[in-house]
Subunit: 397 residues, 2 copies
Amino acid sequence: MSDTLLIRNVRPAGGAATDVLVRDGRIAAIGAGANGGDTSCDAGGRLMIPGLVEAHTHLDKSFWGMGWHKHTAGPALIDKIETERRNRREFGIDADRQSGRLVAQMVKMGTTHIRSHVDIDTETGLAGIEGVMAMRERLKDVIDVEIVAFAQSGLLIRPGTLELVDQAMAMGAEVVGGLDPCAVDRDPKGHLDAIFGLAQKYGRPLDIHLHERGEMGAFSMDLILERIRALGMQGKVAISHAFCLGMPDVDHARRLIDELAKERVALVTTAPASSPAPAVMACLKAGIVIAGGSDGVRDSWNPYGMGDMLERATLVGLRNNFRRDEEMELALDVCTYQGAKVMEIADYGVAVGCKADFVILPGETVCEAIVERPADRTVVKRGRIVARHGELTQPIA
Amino acid sequence: MSDTLLIRNVRPAGGAATDVLVRDGRIAAIGAGANGGDTSCDAGGRLMIPGLVEAHTHLDKSFWGMGWHKHTAGPALIDKIETERRNRREFGIDADRQSGRLVAQMVKMGTTHIRSHVDIDTETGLAGIEGVMAMRERLKDVIDVEIVAFAQSGLLIRPGTLELVDQAMAMGAEVVGGLDPCAVDRDPKGHLDAIFGLAQKYGRPLDIHLHERGEMGAFSMDLILERIRALGMQGKVAISHAFCLGMPDVDHARRLIDELAKERVALVTTAPASSPAPAVMACLKAGIVIAGGSDGVRDSWNPYGMGDMLERATLVGLRNNFRRDEEMELALDVCTYQGAKVMEIADYGVAVGCKADFVILPGETVCEAIVERPADRTVVKRGRIVARHGELTQPIA
């Protein structure tokens, strides 16, 4: 396999056509007439965008490739949690196999980096973590996966779970997960002290699912902010969903946004159409990093999803009423550069010296690519072509 | 060309595989072993759904096929109206050509019936109406188009417009259009008396764009209901958008829904992610017909859109938090049967005796088809295959 790759006639970020030379897994040169590649390909004037960043998903429990499963969960959070544990047993969801299948789809769609929450509970123990770890070792040449040790069924209400999360961190999970300190664990102080304690013990960041709406979510967010201040964890905490920032009391939401910005708390959003949600523009203007994620894809929670972060960019745009080109470009930023910031990906982007993780796809402009989401994507990971015109170059999973 | 078509091994609405015989533009028989077709095709166990119904779009002003145009309109309604009239001149939007291009895309995606609002104003006069009428005559074998005579720039605030709308109805437009009686025309009584007057004069139904939110929209809706009662126009009025039904005062919204049901007012929604919107389930439960539409596709208002009503079903599902299979099926119902009711399409559906307007596409279940929106669609219109596996069988436009 060649160490260098020359891509001719490609338009980074929709700009003028140029040539891009990739060497040793990095972008070595950008400019017309760049040369030196053992392998060259003509991109035919297609766009080049950085690899898509999936900053919030659940690889371990997707039904991807298992046929259609009727969605039977009730509307409440706890219904989904209970249904999911039952489905995992009944359907035989294997975390290694299923995460690999979903990764294959995501790679094909142009995702180069994934943060996956992985379930830990007293039934499954660490099987999910082990499965996703085995998958990422197997697929390390085509994807970067960061694992969040996540007590989906509750951390304190199911005794023994905290110890399992502790073990997952010892095994090498990168991020400590949290979940609705009031609504699920019924003990916000206990929950937050526990997860911040683990984050301190392992010197790792936190990513907290916060579905709690309105004043309850704002209360949990306040408690999170207090702990960040007390422990000096600025820049080390992400809050996923953060529905409470879409609360009716906009002054309160505004105050929370200012505090999140001050303590450098990042947000991760799916841009949900049916829930209150953080307004992307307001967050960006306040200086908050806000990334995008699919959340579950075809699982017990969510029957939707193609594992496509370009579709997520469309949904971010629609949810935030982004119509002007510069607004739509922000929607893609949420699914690329913003995600890279949340995951602290070094040397990310389309510039000389950056890691060669990028996507080449049709489109007159970046906005057109967001709207059309063409299947014809060529994906480069670590300088190697892993998908060409929408097909994986080698089988994955 | 053959008058009969036998489709073998197809699954209507995701049910058991069977055969469907089409004769003289209608479904003549459904059942294993149906025969008699001059032409037969094996659907390979694919799904069969009725033709998608686009109940609210603007064919006349799409940029489809004209390259990417930077979106420059400001956030207010009036910005979009003014920008659009300027763009129409500057970009050379020809209603005949552009409506044909968009119809070609919509047909490929499986749409068999379209209700299109068509702009009428003192600048363009009736050119848009004439253009769309010419297009629909040209393409009458592949699509049914219903025209709404629509004063996009205001009916009364631009003198002369009402007379033009009157002429459009005389020319054969099927539906009288209305637009934000308070917010745009600044004269709700004047606006509504005028459009109801035209509806009475021509014995045609009404379709009123109502973007007005909260109490203002509720006020306009009240005035509409009064006129329906006074004129006995039950079942003859549709309100598009109806954002006010997503108003914070849920009791007020509930009372409006009950009144709309009583007067048999239909609704048409895009299921917008960034606006208040009528809740589909609440409307259906109240007995209201609620159809779906793309609204503008790639035009001065809206840079998004693939002209795909299956994508609209996804967006209806996401907006309404439809996750259970039976809820997702309702999302498709909004984009098929509900639209057929709004447009009063006779003999619509997948049953013996119905017009042979349907789509064959991959998918284990209807829900999977909604989620995946496969490009591989075979579309039958008036008993003829107009698109096969995602490609038009003959050039359109």
